[in-house]
Amino acid sequence: MGVQTVGVVGLGSIGRIHVAGWQRLGVTVEGADGLPEARERARDAFGIEVHDGLEALLRTVDVIDVCTPTDTHAEVALAAVRAGKHVICEKPITRTLPEADALISAANERGVQLHVAQVVRFFPQYAAAARAIASGRIGKPAVLRFTREGGIPGADRWYHDDNRSGGIIGDVMIHDIDYARWVAGEVVRVYARTLRNAGPQNGATHAYAILTHASGAISHLTASWARVGAPFRTSFEIAGSEGLLEHATDSRPALRTAPAELARLGGMLLEEDPWTAELREFLAAINGGPPPRVSAEDGRAALAVALAAIESAKTGRAVELATEVAAA
């Protein structure tokens, strides 16, 4: 038994990565997208059956994997939950907190699983750091730094619409917000600044945030679309009461090539890419295995911090977050 077929809704950049991941896991995939060219591209690349909407998928698949633009996550995921499907939802869980709450309670009521694809937890260097911290290697985390910097998405992409994507904070910084919560605990205060307006909607392309965790730990986050003309990079540095962890994706290249572009042919230099590892863990949970390392509630909490950061950037004030920890 177990999951036979997964339906991926939204066949854009992350949708195609998920389709490839499901195929690596030996799961039959079908896809859906409203755009004919997206359907055609996925069918050609992966040989999968494609549909023009969710309805057709709901008739044939066991699990719905939501890879649509952020502002449509709630609608698509809720429809899937109501049809009794387990749901995997790309991050952010939804665009707003009421949507997240409605989705989580609907999944609980219907008795289906809901997983949020906060994939950074599945990147091996981030997972290794989390294990090192859990094992006590650096003591208690005190001051953390994260960066996530790339070029600007194409001018025609929905990411530029803050109302749809949450902008640089909602779409990019939320990765490190989730990870910071994972390793340093609940966030109680957020201060953020957005800057360098550019792109088709003249939105912010760079953001800083300072998170204060319930433990007192401080996280500094940089998220950027300003690194035009240079490779995407991420880094982290986690200092604790007994040590320090530091990593940057560009500090120790495992493969150097001339010309430099050849290195891309090497891929990620991992037996299994982080997206496939993530889907594998969700699949195992749906098939009765242990809960994955990230829950839907984690996805909601990361969204709450991201929205507080967006509010702080608007008002110029630090924003306090109500948490269960603080209330207890």
Binding site: K140, P141, A142, V143, R145, T147, E149, R189, Y191, R193, L195, R196, A198, H206, Y208, I210, T212, S215, G216, A217, I218, H220, T222, S224, A226, R227, V228, G229, A230, E237, A239, G240, S241, E242, G243, L244, G316, R317, A318
Partner: protein
Amino acid sequence: MSTQRKLKIGIMSFAHLHGAGYAGLLANWPDVELRVADDDPERGKRIADRFGVTCAPSYAELLAWKPDGVIVCSENSRHRELTEQAAAAGAHVLSEKPLATSLADGRAMIEACEAAGVRLMTAFPMRFSQPVIAAVRIAQEGKLGTIHGIAATNPGTMPGSWFVDPELAGGGAVMDHTVHVADVMRWLLGSEAVEVYAQTNRILYPDLPVETAGTLAVTFANGTVATIDCSWSRPNSYPTWGGVTLELVGDEGVISVDAFAQVLASYSDGPGRTGGQDVRWLPWGDDPNAGMLREFLSAIREDRAPVPSGWDGYRATEIALAAYRSVEAGQPVPISTE
């Protein structure tokens, strides 16, 4: 140059570790005659002997020697009294950073030097770091366009000693490590800070009476947002003392500069491989302290104001002090402009 008379330079106190470093440089410069004094006479004698220079028995006797300039390397809270003594004796002053532990003391130092007709310089060696100079030059040539954001770090190992005494140091990591990069930002942007948000904690060394980690966000009058990590977050096992980095984000590009990346990695198993295992980064770049001391000497010879000045030290200290106010308030606080 060889016909120049030697400049008489004094070092007052070796409480700050940088003092011994300055002595090591100046003792070998042919155009300098160096004498030192320390209120810890044993420490003063030990360091003077190491570099073969004279240790005066008191500050008064050092100043009676009529030095052209003195370098004040005392505990932070004592910069004012030593600067006032030096100025009264007619010596130009290079003060270790932070300039002072209160704005009143900083202003008093500036006024004392003005009244005595001597120059006051603040020890900000990052103005003389070749990688930093390169980044600032590229930015000031306009290659980045408008600079919207700066993320800077100045982490270090926990210095211990009087650096963790709230009275003598004026605070902890924020007082120790905010001002270097704050000064670079002011220099780079040509703009003053108007607002500061900061968070601090004591998790790294919970038994100390001062904050040991901190992160600031500073808004400049021109609109640039800059963050500073001033934490004592480098463990003793780290291969070097710490570092200084800045990432400048402009309309046209991004520059990341690491002032202390010019190092080679060294791994030593000790003599006969019998322990004392040591992993170190050995610096090979130009020593920013040497450039800073040359500026102090040149300004004295050329009878001009040194850069960075006492006011530069004052403005950077303002940012650090505002950080403490923000921590109290839990919100950003303004820096009142005069």
